[in-house]
Amino acid sequence: MTGQTLIHLQDVSKRFVKGKDTITIFDHLGLSIPAGDFVAVMGPSGSGKTTLLNLLGGIDQPTEGSITFDGGRVDTLTEGQLARWRAHNVGFIFQFYNLMPTLSAARNVELPLLLTSFGRAERKRRVEAALSLVGLAERADHYPREMSGGQQQRVAIARALISDPKLLLCDEPTGDLDRTTADEILAMLRLLNQEMGKTIVMVTHDPEAAKYARRTLHLDKGRFTERELVA
């Protein structure tokens, strides 16, 4: 299912200045992710997993090196260009779902579509389709506080999918869920990868979650230490 390179990190370094100290997260890191891949990124706390996700998602910029997405440079875009790029190309799924507590499920899912030129009717149609896909069509008018963690994460997945992005970035998507619910969510992600061809990068601490990915990258102190292919 995997194809040509969707994301390519070349000689990417990321450093933070903290007081008088400079903290190096990545030092000339390289990574290629083909389209249609499902990559799990594992590693201890502070290994740079979330920073990697931020770089892939264009919400942080490398100190050095280049990041290309679908052949185009991302690291040279301005903040406004990055915002538009994210809106069209990346869906985010977070550990704590990050739904807007004051908006209904449907309104949460609709958020990315508000950045497009779709009219109200088209947005409504797409929101219904996305909620149906995650099995929550009947919960459209419910607020996050009225839903379980698993349901909230499914709403978050619907939100991530609504603008049909090529890349889904998942930050510990099952970290706040029980095993059964976590497996349901992971199965859904695998389905999105296998059936819809979504490229997925998932940061996780959970080896069981990583089994749902096509491959696992182990990150430690800013370097990939082990690459494991999963059947």
Binding site: D60, A83, R86, N98, M100, P101, L115
Partner: protein, 405 residues
């Protein structure tokens, strides 16, 4: 369209999240409301005072005072001058051919406000306030066709009888019809109460001029002359007449203009007290608004960051946060306006007029223009209190919001 969608959704999120910070938001609303109430109380007082004085005096009534005297209290007009005015052109005459001219005396007496009456009811021990006693010439009532005697009757010439303005009667003790009032060394009987369009005259005591002259030993001297005019051009005719007669060194103006000028002086003073006080308090409310909005931004940092992840711009976060602050401030402004309306609108007060040194009874009046000033002040507090937190919201680095290194 896209940017409006962004702003609309961020604003909705901000405003809908206000109940999550109920007490902080509530305290901001109360603080702004308090500022607005204080300001509007002063402005309503100024507006009411102005309305009372501006409502006083007719455009077709000339008032003549000694040249250079800016108020009746400082003026002096002789009996001879009054006679010359009775014969002047532009002065209206009644059905019998008598000129509608009233030489009037204006003296300060004292009285006791109802609120100052001691518990034992002994008025002698109460603090006293200045009141205006106006002596009216024989045509004094005829020159004022709008006068309504609402209780009792008019005073009889040649007697120690008084008519009392309705506003004064409500605000001061011992001025009911039938009461005897001691002014100077003589007793006066209150025989009637009058209304005159809610004007400043309703804060006066009226009596027959010769009796007042006797009481205050001011024979042959008046403070002003009222003369009813024949028409719109008559003021100029009368002014020219006075200017051309060396015996008549008098300023001639309409009664309406005279009181409008008096009104603006005192109401300006009230406003000059009210605005600095309100602005000083507004700084306190501003601190509250800033605190609330900074905590609002901090509480929504993850939501803002999530929206930015999705692709929302920093501008929408800025405007949404600013609008939240403006909404809180507007709520405060509305609360303040309502409180002022309930507590002060229609409330009767009295204050010392700078021009007459006597008490003028007026009604606090919360006009739409006054209310608008309160709302504008509230929105200024909201704008300044929201703009810095909004700037912070727009500049939250998405990475920082997630707590990454």
């Amino acid at each position: 369209m896209r940017v409006f969608n962004e702003i609309a959704v961020v604003t909705t999120i901000c405003i809908k999240s206000i109940p999550q910070r109920f007490w902080a938001s509530f305290s901001t609303v109360v603080a702004v409301g308090l500022v607005v109430t204080v300001l509007l109380a002063f402005l309503a007082m100024a507006a009411g005072f102005q309305q009372t004085l501006r409502g006083t005096g007719a455009k077709d009534m000339a008032i003549l005072m000694r040249a250079g005297s800016q108020a009746e209290l400082n003026s002096g007009v002789t009996r001879d001058q009054a006679r010359l005015i009775e014969e002047a052109p532009g002065v209206m005459k009644d059905a019998d051919g008598k000129p509608l001219v009233s030489p009037e005396l204006y003296v300060i007496v004292d009285g006791v406000k109802k609120t100052a009456v001691p518990a034992d009811g002994n008025l002698k021990k109460a603090p006293r306030s200045n009141l205006t006693l106006r002596g009216l010439g024989p045509a004094g009532i005829a020159v004022r066709p709008d006068l309504k005697i609402v209780e009792g009757r008019a005073f009889k010439p040649g007697t120690n009888e008084l008519m009392v303005g309705r506003a004064l009667q409500k605000d001061f003790a011992g001025l009911n019809v039938g009461n005897t009032v001691k002014l100077g060394n003589s007793n006066w009987l209150v025989v009637g109460a009058f209304e005159l369009g809610g004007s400043v005259f309703e804060s006066e005591l009226w009596a027959d001029t010769p009796e007042v002259q006797d009481l205050f030993h001011r024979q042959n001297v008046f403070q002003s002359i009222r003369a009813r005019l024949t028409g719109p051009d008559a003021l100029k005719t009368l002014s020219d007449y006075a200017a051309n007669d060396p015996q008549l060194k008098l300023d001639v103006t309409t009664e309406a203009d005279y009181y409008a000028q008096q009104a603006s002086r005192t109401s300006d003073l009230i406003q000059k007290l009210g605005w600095p006080l309100a602005i000083a308090m507004a700084f306190g409310a501003l601190a509250g608004a800033l605190n609330t909005m900074y905590s609002s931004v901090a509480a929504r940092a993850q939501e803002i960051a999530t929206l930015r992840c999705i692709g929302f711009s920093g501008t929408s976060s800025f405007i949404g946060t600013l609008l939240e602050s403006l909404v809180l401030a507007l709520m405060g402004g509305i609360v303040g306006t309502l409180v002022t309306w309930v507590l002060f609108d229609g409330l009767t007060g009295s204050t010392l007029s700078g021009a007459s040194f006597s008490q003028i009874v007026f009604t606090f009046h919360l006009t739409p223009a006054v209310a608008l000033q309160g709302i504008i002040l509230a929105l200024v507090v909201g704008l300044v209190g929201g703009v810095f937190p909004a700037w912070r919201a727009a500049r939250i680095p998405i990475v920082e919001a997630y707590g990454t290194p």
